[in-house]
Every structure is written in C-alpha cells, then in structure tokens.
C-alpha cells in the first residue's frame, strides 16, 4: 500500500446557496473536513447606491436606502434623514420622532425575528422559521397600514415622516406588546434549550473583544464579546435618552451568544415601544422644511444603531441639493470581514452556523 494521497480541495459555497441569504459566494479550501482558507466574494448585488445618490436630491435617495438592509428599511431611512437633519440643524416635531422611534423598534423586532427564523432554518430546524414569521407578519402588516408598503417603506422624510399613524394604529401597536412578550417565552422555549442546537452553536465561532474592536465590529457581533457599546445609549439620537431600556451583552462571543442577544434585544425593543406608545404626543408629523433641501457645504457623519450594527451616513456637501459624495457605513459589510478569521481551522460543518450568526444582509454588504 502506498502512502495515502492527500490534497486540498476547493469548495464553492454560493452564490446561490440558500444559507447565504442572498447572493454571497464563499470559496473555501478544505483539507479533509477542515477549512484552511476562506475567500469571500461579494458584490453580486452591487447597485452603486453611493454613485446614484450623487445625482439625486436628498428626498429621492430615501427609497434607495430601503434597498440596503431590506429587513430593516425603517432604520435605514432614519440613518439618512438623521444625517441631513443634523447637517441642516432641523427641528423635528415630537410626534414625528415618536413615530420614527416606534417604527424603528418594531422593525428591529421584525429583523431579529427574521434572523432567528432564518438562522434556525440554516441549522436544519424548519418550525422556528414559521413561528417567527407569524409575528413578523403582524409587524409588516402594521407597516403596510402606516406607509403602504410591506418591505420598502420610504416612510421617513427630512424633518419628519410622510404619514401620521392611521386611526387605531397605535392601539394595534399597544396590543402587540403583550402578545409579543408571550411569544418570546415560546420562542425561547422552542429553541434556546434544544440540545442539538446548543451543540451546534455553543463555543463555535468565538470572537474575542480585541478582535472585535480591531475588525471594527459593531452591533450584536461586538456586544456578544461582552463589550457594552450601543449607539442608542453611547451617543443617543432620536429620543432614546428618554426611555428606559437595557443593553444586553454576551459573555463568550460565540454563535450562541449572538443568537441569544437577538432574543434579548427584542425584549428591550418591546419595552421601548411600550413606553413610546404610552407617551406619544399629538401634533404635526412633518417639520418646517424648505421645499428644496440644501445641505450647507461641509462634511457630516452621523450613525445610528441599526439592526446589525453601526449604520452611518457620511455626506460631503457643496451646498447644493444633491450630495457631492455620500458614503454609507454598512454594518454587514464591515462585520462580514471577520468571517475568514472565524472559519479558518473550523470544521466544514460549522461553516453555516458561523456564517449565519454573523447576521448579514447582502443588500447592505453590496450596497
């Protein structure tokens, strides 16, 4: 018997692999079952949003932001209008800020539900996906009522929001809160203690705090390492400094912590929504904004806590009604870089568990 021939194999995951949630290609080199190299190929969904924005007025850019992180479009809307408002020092009516806050937090819940459903689906569990979609459907339905779209909302405007809440809408949100609270327990019972699930995610894909900071991770990926950083608390925008909520942080930085933080964050979002619905004032929903929005010349950057991390918009203006340059700091794009580091040395069977837990949306990665 001669020596066993050993060689590395290149395996192409994607771009149409279902667990990549979009079009993302991963070229992994494997030695037996072990991953020795992983090369991410992105850009399949690149639409040149930043370039397109240079030819668009600020209000016209808003629908483009819907298509970045299409699971949390409300938050994307806000990221853009917030930067423009910051640059122009615009005052936003209180009711508009409340409505924005409510829809953003609802959207965060919807996005996290989608994560939990899809992540479990990646790991081979079908039912959580269906359960998670029940509540997500309720949220999407509420968004449909307030802005007329289920996914691409285009709801916010510079200086406020497009529509006031229709009659009875706030009551629906109010009723949704206790309902959602019950479902958390159910979702957690359904998944969190499942032994098969735990075996697949506990201690897998561990990120240390130094790595997380060096890789500029943000959002749950950063907080799962135990580092408490949430822009809603650390650099409050909107009305977040007036509400009472906690920032859940993990301790191990593994896939399980990232999964679990999504659950825990939804609980906090529900708390915020509950408080906001209880105290929302009456009034106009669109402030006094010039017809043609011109941002004074200069550079402006503000960032908010998106569903996936720090979502920032950087605008260079030359005083015209269109941005001279707009750069989007997309959390998924930045967070995805650590994937190579996490995968090398892992067994092939952990690939999907690790990729899923990084929680990317390809619309945002590719912009």
């Amino acid at each position: 018997m001669g020596a066993l021939r050993q060689e590395e194999m290149i395996l192409n995951v994607g771009p149409q692999h279902p667990s990549t949630h979009g079009v993302f290609r991963l070229v992994v080199t494997i030695d037996g079952e072990q991953i020795v190299e992983a090369d991410s190929v992105v850009g399949y969904l690149h639409r040149g949003t930043e370039k397109l924005a240079e030819d668009l007025q600020y209000t016209q850019i808003i629908p483009y932001t819907d298509r970045l992180d299409y699971l949390a479009s409300m938050i994307n809307n806000y990221a853009l209008v917030h930067t423009v408002e910051y640059a122009m020092d615009l005052e936003v009516p209180a009711r508009a800020e409340y409505l924005r806050l409510i829809v953003m937090e609802l959207n965060r819940i919807g996005s996290h539900l989608m994560f939990i459903g899809a992540y479990l689906l990646d790991l081979g569990a079908m039912s959580p996906f269906l359960y998670a979609f029940q509540e997500r459907e309720m949220i999407v339905q509420m968004f449909n009522e307030i802005c007329g779209a289920r996914l691409t909302y285009n709801y916010m405007r510079v200086g406020g929001v497009k529509w006031d809440a229709p009659p009875g809408w706030l009551d629906k949100v109010r009723d949704f809160v206790p309902h959602m609270r019950e479902r958390f327990k159910m979702l957690s019972d359904l998944v969190s203690g499942n032994e098969i699930f735990l075996n697949r995610v506990k201690g897998i894909g561990v990120i240390t705090q130094e790595e997380a900071l060096n890789y500029s991770l943000s959002g749950i990926n950063l907080r799962s390492t135990g580092f408490n950083f949430d822009l809603r608390k650390n650099r409050p925008y909107n009305l977040y400094d007036q509400f009472d909520f906690d920032i859940p942080v993990g301790s191990n930085g593994d896939c399980f912590d990232r999964y679990y933080l999504h659950l825990r964050e939804m609980e906090q979002s529900v708390r915020i929504v509950e408080q906001a619905v209880a105290s929302i004032p009456d009034g106009p929903v669109l402030g006094k904004v010039p017809k043609l929005i011109r941002v004074p010349a200069g550079e402006y950057y503000t960032s908010i806590e998106g569903a996936r991390g720090e979502l920032g918009v950087y605008i260079v203006s030359d005083g015209k009604d269109k941005p001279y340059r707009m750069k989007l700091r997309r959390p998924s794009f930045v967070n995805l870089q650590i994937l190579r580091k996490l995968l090398i040395g892992q067994s092939m069977s952990n690939l999907i568990a690790i990729l899923g837990a990084v929680d990317i949306v390809l619309g945002e990665v590719d912009a």
Partner: protein, 247 residues
C-alpha cells in the same frame, strides 16, 4: 435540563434585571417639557450655529437658540461654540504630541467639526500617524468607525473616523493623494477592519494602497474599466464589451 438553566443564565449576567413593566417614570412624569428640552439642548445636534462669531443672528436657527438658552440657563450664550474651541484645542494638542514623536511635518492641518477634532496627515506619514494614535495609551484610538474616500477633482481625500473605547473620544484623520497614480500606505496592518474598506476605495476610487495584503476589486469585477466614484467617470466609456472578453 441542566443545559436549559445554563442558557438562561449566561448571557443575562451582563444585564440589569428588567424594570417592572408599565410606564417609564422618566418619560411620563414630565411629558412636554422633557420632550422639548433634550431635543434642542442635548445630543449631537446642539448649538452648532454659534460656531463662528459672525454667524449667529443671521441664520434661521435663531429660533432654536433661545429655546436652548432657556432650557439651560447655566450655559452662557457665548459667541464661539465652546465645543469647537475645545475640539480645536484638542486637535492642536494631539498635533503637538504627534509632532514630538513623528516630526512636525506629519500633521498638515488641525481643525474641528462641530465637536470633533480633525487632523490632516501628510501622505507619507499616514500609517505611522494612525498607528501612533492607536498605540499610544494617552490617545488609544482603537476603533475605526468610518473609512471613506472622496474625489475632490484636484486630489482624492481619504478620511478615517477613529474612536477610543478607553477614553470615549473621537477624532477624524484625513489625508490626500493626487489623482494620478493615486496611492496611500495601507492601514490594514494597523486595523484589520479596514481591509475591505480599502478594497472598496481601491475599486471605486482607484487609490492603490501600498502594503495591503489582498488588494483586489470588491464590488466590480476584475476586468472592469475605471473607477466609478471618480468624478470624471463616464458610464458610457467604461461599459465592458462582451467581445472583449470582459463581460
């Protein structure tokens, strides 16, 4: 069952127990005043129009100013924005610190935005300076918040927003490169997180980052002509042809 318990406890340990349900005392006790006041006086937006002395009354934001003054009577409505003054002073301090270690020519310009110091770094000293800002314990800017490049027609500017998790402070550093043979030292050896950002800038703006471990296009494919975010880029000249094997 043991695992179940484990699950409930581990991640929760870092969090405070959730408050009793119901209404938030802070929000509800003083509704209208509490809403307005922080909006005009608090977070990142505040009193920016007071920046230069000549501006104050002319701007339409004059309405916002009295509100801020009323809400915070302790703060004098002094003409130069104290935050800009403070940020500029910080910028000068950091500039001096850099000059002492890396030479006076490392920082070309020190200024400030509304509240954050800005330093313009000489191109040759780009990496050393950023590394210096990261490694020195008195600066400790260890987190890259934003990495962006802009084509200003005469030159291309790259800006990096740094954050210090230890001191909680922010700084913006930028540098310039000519458009012809645009190149900069890569920051990837310093911050692993700018790897793809540099690839994106290389792809869309055509800056060559020296010392980058894996400088390839990231959004467009390798055969693409030109760099779309450059201001003189034309859609029509750069469409790759199927015959040329570029498609």
């Amino acid at each position: 069952m043991e695992t179940q318990q484990d699950v409930v406890e581990t991640p929760a340990s870092g969090t405070a127990p959730s408050a009793p349900e119901g209404k938030a005392p802070a929000t509800n006790s003083a509704p209208p005043t509490a809403e307005r006041a922080p909006e005009s006086a608090a977070p990142a937006v505040p009193a920016p129009d007071t920046t230069p002395p000549p501006a104050p009354a002319a701007k339409p934001a004059a309405t916002a100013k009295p509100a801020a003054a009323a809400a915070k009577p302790a703060k004098p409505p002094a003409p130069p924005d104290p935050r800009v003054v403070a940020a500029t002073a910080t910028a000068e301090e950091i500039r001096a610190s850099i000059a002492a270690h890396l030479g006076a020519d490392a920082v070309e310009d020190a200024s400030a935005t509304k509240e954050i110091p800005i330093l313009r770094i000489a191109r040759e000293k780009w990496r050393q300076t950023v590394e210096f800002l990261k490694d020195r314990p008195e600066h400790a800017y260890n987190y890259v918040e934003l990495f962006a490049g802009t084509d200003y027609k005469d030159y291309i500017e790259v800006v990096v927003y740094l954050y210090s998790t230890e001191h909680g402070s922010y700084i913006h550093v930028k540098t310039r490169t000519p458009r012809e043979d645009a190149s900069l030292p890569s920051l990837t050896p310093v911050f692993a997180g700018v790897n793809w950002e540099e690839r994106e800038v290389y792809d869309l703006l055509g800056i060559h980052f020296e010392g980058h471990p894996d400088l390839r296009r990231i959004m467009m494919w390798e055969e693409w002509n030109g760099h779309p975010l450059r201001k003189d880029y034309s859609d029509f000249e750069n469409v790759p042809s199927r015959e040329g094997g570029q498609y």
